[in-house]
Symmetry: C3
Subunit: 340 residues, 3 copies
Amino acid sequence: MADPRFYSVAGPFSLKQLAGIAGAEIGGAADPARMFADVAPLQQAGARDVSFLDNRRYVQAFAESGAGACAADPEFAPRAPPGMALLLTREPYRAYAKIATAFYPAPAPIPERAGTAAVDPSARVDEGARIESGAVIGARAEIGRRTRIGANAVIGHGVAIGDDCNIGPSATLLFCVLGARVIVHPGVRIGQDGFGFAPGKGGHLKVPQLGRVIIEDDVEIGANTTIDRGAGPDTVIGAGTKIDNLVQIAHNVRLGRHCIVVAQVGISGSTRVGDYVMIGGQAGLTGHLTIGDGARIAAQSGVMRDVGPGDDVGGSPAKPMKDWLRGVAAVERLAKKRGG
Amino acid sequence: MADPRFYSVAGPFSLKQLAGIAGAEIGGAADPARMFADVAPLQQAGARDVSFLDNRRYVQAFAESGAGACAADPEFAPRAPPGMALLLTREPYRAYAKIATAFYPAPAPIPERAGTAAVDPSARVDEGARIESGAVIGARAEIGRRTRIGANAVIGHGVAIGDDCNIGPSATLLFCVLGARVIVHPGVRIGQDGFGFAPGKGGHLKVPQLGRVIIEDDVEIGANTTIDRGAGPDTVIGAGTKIDNLVQIAHNVRLGRHCIVVAQVGISGSTRVGDYVMIGGQAGLTGHLTIGDGARIAAQSGVMRDVGPGDDVGGSPAKPMKDWLRGVAAVERLAKKRGG
Amino acid sequence: MADPRFYSVAGPFSLKQLAGIAGAEIGGAADPARMFADVAPLQQAGARDVSFLDNRRYVQAFAESGAGACAADPEFAPRAPPGMALLLTREPYRAYAKIATAFYPAPAPIPERAGTAAVDPSARVDEGARIESGAVIGARAEIGRRTRIGANAVIGHGVAIGDDCNIGPSATLLFCVLGARVIVHPGVRIGQDGFGFAPGKGGHLKVPQLGRVIIEDDVEIGANTTIDRGAGPDTVIGAGTKIDNLVQIAHNVRLGRHCIVVAQVGISGSTRVGDYVMIGGQAGLTGHLTIGDGARIAAQSGVMRDVGPGDDVGGSPAKPMKDWLRGVAAVERLAKKRGG
């Protein structure tokens, strides 16, 4: 059970309600009226808890779990312990996400304008917005309905933030326009100057950065991630894209819709990334590339050429996944031969 | 045209004025009195806009551009569309930087001492400085003329900041001395303890870090970059050096003058880097190395040995660029042989 | 000598006192009553300074040093210049750490509650704690004795921080419980949502993150490092573990006791790391791994499989150190053969 210091739980819900929430089917002979009070991991769950099995690694934990109910793929139903009610679905993790959200809905922000916040008189802040202590909001900024500006966050002049956004504490947003339902975690830096210099022996000349950052609806941006504003064109993050912590997005980058960008990735200037692209942790992409829709880039890859739609690449310099793995295997054989 | 929410444009300027600003020659038959109102990328520029061509990739966009004027290398002059005025120069990107700065000069900070700023009475803050909301300035700190301390930035006790510096919101500067015209982007961390421990089975002992960080004139430091103070000697960033976002500079590092350090690079303790060194994104340098003047270190390199002046290295562990590329090619051939 | 702008020095101490502090033996004929006023690096130290020799690279500097006293391994005693008093120990760096701490003890925080701090009335803040300007402390948070909350730091609702902790400026601590003597450097992000999404074509569903971050005693966390809270289980950092700058620790990770995690490392979700593990800079560990006690992971490694206790691994994908080095050598030979 989630620590009540930090969380409060809704519910309880019946198995039937949960099946409806999750879009799952009740497995076998379970009683649809059975009540559940919480969610819990397989290893800790008890009779009134709902859990989930999504990763084959945890089938044994599933088989031994005391969970009263579990979202699982029908394939694993035979391994369920007696007495466990099953919520059968091909997408058990999505089912769990919906159930957990029912038990722990994100609380609506309580409207507030903290006494120590500094809001420029020309800013337009919706009455239902929440402006926490120490937040600073610049001239002509616009803050939408039910949007929260966390403690000590800084919103620069002219910045527009849509409805139902959650801006974490100590984030700084400059020269940007955000859609609705955007989540910005603590310490995120949006809209500062891109790294634009005209190099030369007399010293590198700073190139004015005259674009913006456009963040579309439903984007989430992880803690301490940095997104520079465009040099002339804008930097754009497409709707539904999720960016993890400590990621670097350079000026003029365009990220498509529903991408997943794992922690510590770096994307260099003017690279365009399609929709539903997955980029593994610590991968780096050089500038001016085009990455096709649905491409998958392995962790720690160094991508120096365009990647086609749906392609899988890995290694540094990155190549098709299959070729990279062959190269790794070839080096291993070679090393053994010599070692032997 | 840059979004007027965020930017205001100066000018207009005549072609002749622009040639003077850029140090360029007017190409062919263009009218020196023709007026220009803005800068714009090649693809969006119109008849009253100035653009630039710096990357061979964009020659086609140049040939099709509607820009009224364009800074370009004489080599590409024959590809210019009819009616485009050319500003000919061997350094078109530097020319553009100067022209864009003329249209969009960095605004001088308006002197201010915000009501919610907390300035220690013993601090010496120039009257022309700008101290924004929520900024905190410690005992005996010194803030120079026309220097801006951004919202919620924290300047520690004793820190000295020169004239015309721009310290971004939420940056923290401790145990450091800055020259003039230094730009520190949001969330930068300067001067915290270096990672100094005397390891051992009884637990790692903390080693007091007794040095400073010295930032020379005209340095720029990217968002969320971290620069630890020296353990005894100082950590030093040489004049004119430009550091991108999320870079880690460990204690006692000395970076030379006019270096370029791209995002997510890590430089370990006590390494000395010469002048005009370029370090590509995500490269890592181990400690106690010497990197010669003008060396170039490729992105994602892992540098474990000294690098000579002017040398190019790549790979992890890093080797001369040529050897690294040969190794990459050799592995590819080997993989194909087996695959075939 | 440390810059008096920033540091004040204790002492002086006699050689005999220093030997006691350091747990070292006085070498040869040195006078135990000789007085010392400061610590300094070998190259700068004078007759009244204490220095140390820990790295074989610096033996020449040791032989030429003007230091009045030096902590060193007995092995190097014959290289000491005449007149240098020796503090002989097998652990000279630990000896130096103790001596430097005697000269420069961490100052106890002066109790304060700054006027611009915003402390929720339901928070329990010890009277001896120091709450600096602009700090924000949420509902029901608890702050221990002699703990410092730095300027503009944000402590979320319910967070509990033990005694003698030092929370740097602009850090944000949410959904977490800290032990005693924890050092959190500026800009650290603890306890934000982990990167939990149930991916899918209709858009990625956010999975509620219901755990906490538990930081045990004597942990140190570097600037701008991010530690996400658990998804259900907690994220745990074991006692005495030291984490450098810009490190990413994902949800549900368990780091053991007395680990050393160098800058820019990334550890993916649910990975368990044993005690006394060392992880070099920029290494990445994928999720759901088990890393045994005392393992050593080289810088820039990409760890994709479990690592046994005491094992050394390197490379990406990581393999036993010996195998990795053999592979590197094999590729070099191959490249030369072709090149020749």
